[in-house]
Amino acid sequence: MTAAGPLIEIKDVAKWFGEVVALSGVTASFGPGLAALLGPNGAGKSSLIRIMCGLTSPSQGTVRVIGRNPRTDGGVRKELGLVPQQERLLPGVSALEFVAMAAALQGLPDPRGAARTAIQTVELDPDDRRHLGAYSKGMRQRVKIAQAIVHEPRILILDEPLNGLDPRQRSRMAQLFIRLGAEGRCVVVSSHVLEEVQELSSTVLVLAEGKLAAEGDFHAIRQLLDDRPHRIRLRSMDPLRLASALMGSGTISAVQTAGEDAIVIDTWSVTPFRRRLPRLTQELGLSLLEMSPLDDDLESVFRYLVARRSP
């Protein structure tokens, strides 16, 4: 991946739970720097992260972290920090006690000092004596980040770390991840929000339905997401005339009726189509009652990418 070589290597990894396939044939690598793992909920991101951290074994394939098996080699855990997705934190402890425990278990010489620094890094108050149960979701999320960075790990894996944060906190935490990546650490951030990934990283792996759907530079991924057939529903007073005119304009590839006053069109060039449509309706003297994209949700986009990549 880089001159320094990959710190995490995933080869042909699959994971299934009974009949359910969570991951299938995933091969990827992560080196120093920030990379994003993008995919809708249920795409297999958390399963892949758990396998990368050794929290569970792959049903098939191999994972190496710093050349070692993270499931069996305890040495890997010295180099690893994880922000898990689940919200629950240990009960009955303050943020300082929780993060200091993490620091102590990592074998740091001054656990409380390291914990104070990590808590301040995520912009919380280390002297806040309240138990974690009294914290807001955003605060708990930042405590999770603090316990993951307290030992300054070479590899930092964050499963949806920006969930529950307000826009300002999101931006501050994103800057933190970018800085940690720029320091040469391997930082892997998972997200199901495209805009979040855009802010974080230029390197993106798209995971959908348990498969690696795409990988590469964010702009190339964005291009892939845009260069696909779009399906749009249009309602007008005279849908057949509109359909005929659209076919003649060359901006759509297919059209079908959808009830008495609607048509559904397919287009590969959504921007020219959007530009042409208002002029066309004006020329025809038609009023457009409704225009609704039918497949603009991220999941359908990911499904398209998977289908496109499948042999």
């Binding site: 074994s57 855990r77 689940q86 629950r88 009960p91 006690e97 425990m101 278990l105 656990p111």
Partner: protein, 235 residues
């Protein structure tokens, strides 16, 4: 390790649990006191039977069950085990710390009421020593077994209660065969041997064999829990 110990302690110790068992212990003491005021010749025998049936067969295993299944088990169930598991700490250390945390609560909760019961019933110092040794070793064995059980089994408390009531307090009393594979009966045997009493249905193992079995069960429990923890699928 101290911070982990404190976390383990806080995870399993709740005010409700402690109060419930203090109440149960007080009931045991009340019965012991009634034996004293009844003032008849077989008082010592009755105290032994009370401690055998109420304490060794039920109270001790249930206290151990409730606190030890929750030490690692609650962390595994609510998804917070990851904060311990993903640290470069030997699994054996984690299990030993979890066991130490559990014993910190279960030993006072079981020894306190049973000591008081012996004193209230006016039994001999021998009875006090017998109850101390048997309750302490039974605690060790039960806690070691139930810590792994809680880690591995969903609804461990319910299944564990079934085990305690059906096997330890029930079937294991029916004969030497089942008794030979019951923690309760080695604790009971140790109790009877030290106290120079005959406990009905006891396996009649020697004092040294009882100690060896209870310590061995503890060690096997710790080793198995360590293996289970290493192989645990962590959420």
């Amino acid at each position: 390790m101290i911070s982990l110990y404190r976390i383990m302690l806080r995870t399993s110790v709740t005010r409700g649990r402690v109060l419930a068992f203090l109440g149960a212990g007080a009931l045991l003491d009340l019965i012991a006191y009634t034996i004293r005021v009844s003032d008849y010749s077989s008082r010592e025998i009755d105290v032994f039977q009370l401690l055998d049936v109420a304490a060794l067969a039920l109270y001790v295993p249930v206290v151990a069950l409730v606190f030890s299944t929750s030490s690692l088990g609650d962390l595994a169930q609510d998804g917070t085990l990851v904060y311990v598991w993903l640290r470069p700490v030997a699994r054996l250390k984690v299990v030993v710390v979890a066991l130490a945390g559990t014993l910190t609560v279960t030993l006072p909760l079981t020894l306190g009421p049973t000591w008081l019961a012996v004193l209230l019933a006016g039994a001999s110092a021998t009875a006090l020593w017998a109850v101390t040794a048997s309750v302490a070793l039974a605690n060790l064995a039960y806690c070691a077994v139930f810590t792994g059980f809680g880690l591995r089994v969903r609804h461990a408390l319910i299944f564990g209660l079934g085990y305690v009531i059906i096997w330890e307090a029930g079937i294991a009393s029916l004969g030497r065969g089942p008794a030979a594979i019951s923690i309760r009966h080695y604790a009971e045997s140790l109790f009877a041997q030290i106290g120079n009493q005959t406990v009905p249905g006891a396996v009649e193992a020697s004092q040294s064999l009882s100690v060896i079995v209870l310590v061995a069960v503890t060690l096997v429990g710790v080793v198995l829990t360590t293996i289970l923890l290493a192989r645990q699928d962590v959420a």
